[in-house]
């Protein structure tokens, strides 16, 4: 309503966020939270198994350092930038929601930031002082301590962010009491943390094992021992990860049901949910197979196999992240703001007067017979474009053709009959916000898009047209009126107090 709307008509705006966020989660879990403790543990093992008169087993230490180098480079480049990228992309796609969230969670994010600064400083100390620390046993032991500190801070960063994410999934919170504490006490927080922690360790272990096969020579004793160590690491965490997954999986439908405006799961979700069961099982089986092979016959574990397992568990993490998206719908902020960025409380006004009238940017403040298609385009941009495209992923033509038949001309009356009721049938959809004229303009536009294949351009290429009802002149009149009213009220108060 109040922002120029960035829109990617082929890729889909949500996909942009998802892509960046999933890369970030994979790096955070796989290369920081789960990987750094593995490296530190290996560094410690090197000291424990050092030959007499040496500080550490040098070739072993060198291997751990090389692994850390990969982790260091990736986390401080792609990892850090995708973290910022989540902010950038959400601000572009969903400005009203992130702008609201930050006014409530400023301190939570600020605290998260301070932990994060500490994490970055520690990772630089840990990696960049590694070689110097090998000069004496005391400095080596201090260095290992830094590794453990870093591991703890990486974990805290994750624990805080899971709470912020958890809050967003808990309905009703926003309207009753906005506090971060709800993020920690909501029913999904502990299951999430209990799942994410060991899973990160497993993913970190698989990634580490993959690096070991890359950095050591086949048949070398170093390789055999390192593969065995990583395998032990994975096997220790895998049962916990599985238990966490089962717990999380079991808690989900209850929370899910509570989130739904009507007590039914959607078709899409149940399909996805069934699939998830096989994905969890499959990924676990593969990981156990990899680590048992590593223990029993490490010569069979070679780079291509390890890489395959690593990519699979990365994919597994990505798929799991989708749970969040499903749970949140039809809201972006539970009970407060729908995923089209319109607030629930403003719906009666929009229903009465239409959304175009209150939009800051629209070429058509009202619907007329002449501007019907353009008005429909504006309505689409304001109420559908956050999740739907016209020609790309999840396109509006595709979703209607899926209902009414592919390739058949869409019927305006059917769509106009369906849209006002869709939120009852498809509970993940927000209700249509506009008035009747806007509904008819919208369906005319959808049909037009089907016929012409027109592409909807976002504000980043087309710019915006300012709604003449919401420009500076109307605001000035309004301000004068408000000031006069206030002055009149003051005079009135004065006279009453004199009397």
């Amino acid at each position: 309503m109040d922002f120029p709307l960035f829109h990617l008509d082929w890729l889909n705006d949500r996909f942009l966020i998802a892509m960046i966020a999933i890369i970030h989660v994979i790096i955070n879990h796989g290369l920081a939270v789960g990987f750094i403790p593995l490296v530190t543990w290996m560094e410690q093992k090197g000291v424990k198994n050092s030959p007499a008169m040496e500080i550490t087993d040098l070739s072993w230490d060198q291997l751990a350092w090389k692994m850390m180098k990969v982790g260091f480079i990736i986390t401080t480049t792609l990892g850090a930038m995708t973290g910022v990228g989540i902010w950038f992309s959400v601000a572009l796609v969903s400005p009203a929601s992130i702008g609201s969230l930050i006014r409530v969670f400023y301190w939570a994010w600020f605290a998260e930031w301070m932990v994060f600064v500490t994490e970055v400083v520690l990772i630089m100390i840990y990696f960049l002082t590694w070689e110097n620390a090998n000069k004496s046993l005391a400095s080596k032991l201090r260095h290992i301590r830094f590794g453990w500190f870093l591991s703890i801070f990486s974990w805290i960063t994750m624990a805080i962010i899971v709470s912020i994410l958890g809050f967003m999934m808990d309905p009703g919170n926003w309207n009753t009491h906005h506090s971060l504490l709800n993020g920690f006490t909501n029913p999904i927080y502990i299951p999430q943390l209990l799942f994410r922690t060991p899973t990160a360790m497993v993913v970190g272990g698989v990634f580490g094992l993959m690096l070991i096969t890359l950095f050591t020579e086949r048949g070398a004793l170093l390789r055999k021992n390192a593969i065995r160590s990583a395998s032990v690491w994975i096997l220790c965490w895998a049962p916990l990860s599985l238990a966490g997954a089962v717990y999380y999986y079991g808690v989900m439908p209850a929370v899910m049901t509570a989130n739904m405006s009507t007590a039914v799961g959607t078709m899409d979700f149940s399909q996805y949910y069934d699939l998830l069961r096989y994905v969890i099982g499959g990924a676990m089986l593969l990981v156990v197979l990899l680590s048992v092979t590593g223990l029993v016959k490490s010569s069979l574990v070679r780079f291509p196999f390890a890489l395959f397992c690593c990519l699979t568990v990365f994919g597994f993490l990505g798929i799991f992240e989708r749970v969040r998206e499903f749970i949140r719908k039809p809201y972006v902020i539970g009970g407060y703001m729908y995923s089209n960025l319109l607030k629930e409380e403003d719906y009666p006004l929009y229903k009465r007067d239409g959304i175009l009238k209150y939009a800051t940017y629209t070429s058509t403040p009202t619907v007329t017979a002449e501007n019907k298609i353009a008005a429909g385009r504006n309505v689409f941009m304001l109420s559908c474009s956050r999740c739907h495209t016209t020609q790309g992923v999840n396109s509006i033509v595709y979703v209607f053709e899926r209902m009414y038949g592919f390739g058949k001309p869409l019927d305006e009356n059917s769509m106009a009959g369906y849209i006002p009721n869709m939120h009852n049938a498809r509970t993940y959809m927000p209700p249509f916000p506009g008035n009747r004229d806007e509904l008819h303009a919208l369906v005319a536009y959808i049909k037009y898009v089907q016929q012409t294949g027109e592409v909807l351009e976002g504000a980043q290429t087309e710019g915006v047209i300012v709604n003449s009802m919401n420009d500076v002149n109307s605001a000035r009149l309004l301000l004068e009126k408000q000031q006069q009213e206030k002055a009149a009220r003051l005079v009135e108060n004065d006279t009453t107090s004199v009397n």
Binding site: M1, D2, F3, P4, F6, T76, T77, A80, M81, V84, G85, F88, A91, L92, P95, G99, R103, V104, Y106, W107, F110, F116, V117, V120, L128, T262, V264, T266, M267, E345, P348, L349, K351, R352, Y358, T360, M403, Y404, S414, A416, A425, R426, T427, R436, A459, Q460, G463, V464, I465, V466, N467, N470, D471, V472, S474, A475, R476, L478, L479, Q482
Partner: protein, 446 residues
């Protein structure tokens, strides 16, 4: 001041939630955290420019190659701090200026999001450059090209940020912008950019002066003929030249700023900042031209004075922003208040959606039921084929003679078919009479 806003200026509604902190405190956090961020950005950019220059010079003189290597090692540290310290000002500006900042982001959206991949690539290039120093020692052109590419990206990124931070100040321009390039050519983007580049060089000069002069830095074991003094003198000269240039660029920045944000408060703060820089420049001048052993004499004072200058300039930047946006913010507040009032009013008196049924009297007895069906059901059900739900003829088969069961289903549907979506309940939208008419119509279909 109101007259400077053009008629086509949009006045959006603000996010109707209170700020998490008093405004003055948020502004303080914004200014200070931004300066901490930008100092490391300066060091990252200045450091990579210096590395590129020294490595090229190092083709002839090995000591400069060494200097380039030493400087390159600092880039990767400074760049990490630049990113992580950038988060606090980003959060703060998001909170304080949500509408302005996000609007500018969206209008330059493709370039704005490109910051993420571009910076990632530049960072990876700096690591590649640092860690391939010895491997590529025999292939200097390639090695120099790596840092050259990183430098090009580092030089471009500030433009994207400046365009955004500039565009957010001018809502009157939002309706005229189409894409990054049109926002880039707004006046005063390039003067501000030059100002930033010079600041980067000045800050980097001071950093190199300190870094080279550290007592525990084994300088003599690295270099053959370059002395600490020589490098420090060069670094100081860089700071002096860059800061001197600011005395020319600064006024240009000020004059190209649209007048709407100018005010005596701004001139006073900026002027004070400039005045404090003057003794620093005199100390540097004396150090460069004085005896070798006294080059360090005023370093602490120079850093202090220039830090105060930077603080004043950063505050001036915020004062301009506050001045420039104040009239528009006032209008936006009026708009927001009015919208909240209207919304509350509409909430208190919700409109009943009563739409007249289109009754086709030729259908006789089932006319009302047919009209109800058309309005409520036809989007998903048709006579003889599956649409969203099953066809009417199937319903007739199931419910023939069982109108009550059909009514019950419509009132509160269950779910029988796994491959069909859930049907919504109509119990609260259709009266008993409506349900009766509807069932009568459905069962009459042949």
């Amino acid at each position: 001041m109101l007259h400077v806003l053009l008629a086509t200026t949009p006045v959006p509604k603000d996010i109707p939630l209170d700020l998490p902190l008093p405004q003055w405190l948020l502004v303080t956090i914004l200014v200070i955290s931004f300066l901490a961020h930008i100092v490391f950005v300066n060091l990252m950019l200045g450091g990579s420019l210096l590395t590129l220059w020294a490595e090229i010079k190092g083709l002839k003189d090995k000591d400069y190659d060494k200097f380039a290597y030493e400087t390159a090692k600092t880039i990767t540290v400074n760049k990490s701090l630049a990113v992580v310290l950038g988060v606090a000002p980003l959060l703060s500006i998001n909170t304080l200026y949500s509408v302005y900042f996000y609007s500018a982001n969206a209008l330059t959206g493709l370039m704005w999001i490109s910051v993420i991949p571009l910076v990632t690539i530049a960072f990876l290039l700096t690591y590649l450059h640092k860690y391939s120093w010895h491997k590529l020692a025999d292939n200097k052109p390639l090695h120099i090209a790596i840092i050259g590419a990183a430098v090009l990206i580092f030089l471009f990124i500030p433009l994207i940020f400046l365009v955004n931070i500039n565009l957010m100040l001018f809502p009157e321009k939002w309706g005229t912008i189409s894409g990054f390039l049109s926002a880039l050519v707004l006046p005063n983007v390039f003067p501000r950019y030059l100002h930033f580049i010079c600041a980067s060089l000045g800050v980097t000069g001071l950093f190199i002066f300190w870094y080279t002069g550290r007592k525990n830095y084994p300088f003599e074991s690295y270099y053959t003929h370059l002395t600490r003094y020589a490098i420090k003198k060069k670094a100081y000269s860089l700071t002096l030249a860059a800061s001197g240039a600011q005395f020319l660029i600064g006024p240009v920045v000020l004059f190209t700023l649209p007048s709407k944000g100018l005010g005596w408060n701004l001139i006073a703060v900026i002027g004070a900042g400039a005045v404090i820089a003057i003794p620093a420049m005199i100390w540097i001048w004396k150090a460069i031209n004085g005896p070798e052993e006294r080059i360090d004499q005023h370093f602490g004072k120079v850093v202090l004075a220039l830090s105060i200058t930077v603080l004043f300039m950063g505050s001036g930047r915020q004062i301009y922003r506050a001045n420039a946006l104040a009239p528009h913010q006032q209008l936006m507040a009026a708009k927001t208040e009015e919208f909240r009032r209207l919304s509350a009013e509409a909430r208190a008196h919700p409109q009943e959606e009563s739409i007249a049924l289109e009754i086709d009297t030729s259908l006789g007895d089932v006319a009302k039921g047919a009209a109800l069906f058309k309005m409520n059901c036809s989007a998903c059900h048709q006579k003889d084929a599956k649409l969203v739900g099953p066809p009417i003829l199937e319903m007739v088969e199931i419910y023939r003679g069982k109108a009550d069961q059909l009514k019950e289903w419509i009132r509160k549907p269950g779910k029988k078919r796994p491959d069909y979506p859930q049907m919504p309940a109509f119990g609260d939208r259709l009266s008993e009479d409506d349900l009766h008419e509807l069932a009568k119509y459905i069962l009459s279909v042949k």
